[in-house]
Subunit: 243 residues, 2 copies
Amino acid sequence: MSESKIPKIDACFSPALYPVYRDEENIVVIIDVLRATSAICTAFHHGAEKIIPVASVEEARRLKESGMLAGAERDAIKVEGFDFGNSPFDYMGPDIVGKTIALTTTNGTQAIEASKYAYKVVVGAFTNISALCDWLVKQDRNVLLLCSGWKNRFNLEDSLFAGAVTHELLKRRPELQLGDGCLALKYLFQMAEKSPARFLAKASHKQRLWKLGLKDDIRYCLQMDMTDVIPVLEDGALVKMKT
Amino acid sequence: MSESKIPKIDACFSPALYPVYRDEENIVVIIDVLRATSAICTAFHHGAEKIIPVASVEEARRLKESGMLAGAERDAIKVEGFDFGNSPFDYMGPDIVGKTIALTTTNGTQAIEASKYAYKVVVGAFTNISALCDWLVKQDRNVLLLCSGWKNRFNLEDSLFAGAVTHELLKRRPELQLGDGCLALKYLFQMAEKSPARFLAKASHKQRLWKLGLKDDIRYCLQMDMTDVIPVLEDGALVKMKT
């Protein structure tokens, strides 16, 4: 991108729509706040070395059988036979320090797979939002906020987070250009700012997790700035960005 | 749908995402307020008999060559050699009374094509919003608000209108279930309610039309309740619903 051009921020609401937004010059931010991208940030914060995102449970199982630690979640539940599910609390123990972990989730790892050829693919969650936004504005480059959604449908929590990122980026650089998606999300975030948890009360996936007794997970995932880690995709694996 | 079940309203932000939301029991509302669906409502209000939506300019040209009136728009501009473009003002003259018109547009007719096998496909715009919402609540059936967007991307004006429909439906039946898309749009509409035109000032397509000198079109398309007409798809053609 030429230096004189003001970067544009846009949002894509489903991995299935990514081909419409694809631009290999973009930085893509992968968003799946309940819970994959929150769990990924947590794992690096607690010392994981590398996370290999894979699209299928079979692939994750093969990697597990080869001796790797592996996490797998489908429909909000840990798949049997795996070391971890999708809960951030699974990724806090001493067993992950210095380790490589294979991970497959219902939505988040699909979004990573879809966008893997972008200029840079990074992972965002409320837990690393300030570190992420500080880094993003420094890049002076177009950004696509890729919401993982739920089985390719729009979801409220990822959109709300994308709105929070838009809000934070505008605080840092008010002249940024916004695509229509981010314009809408900026307003959405303004409605929710005072109490994101209450705002999300009716969101379909939050209700799904709530029914599964995962209140603590939700509470954890909505906390801002628990870590400075920015996970970045390098040669097909997520690693901690050196900033 | 069983009678005891409360209908659900959801929104789909791109014709390309329709397969993810497809349910042939749904009523689908086609939304392309700037300007296709506004123009379609206008044409019926002014006496058109039938509108045949076609996906390609070539198909519209073949119908024109067979003697039919035909409208074609691409990238907000009337395609050369056609009777009409996409402006509501093209569809107000005595030349359309009792006539069948072939129509192809950049976004709106693609959305109709995508959803044509739904239980019912109807056309919505600010110009017929009250008539549309009165009819929708009477059906007691799940509704999908299908935003045409811009070349399969999310756009602000169609989403805003879908938010307005959500708001109107909730006024008529507060217990309706909302999908995450409609939950977000309900809040978006609350932000915009006092001045939709000002709210849309930064929307990409409004700016596109504004640059083309189409301010009057925008003003017209944002007026509420100019007509009671509800266009409905029957055997591949839009006709005026008999209510």
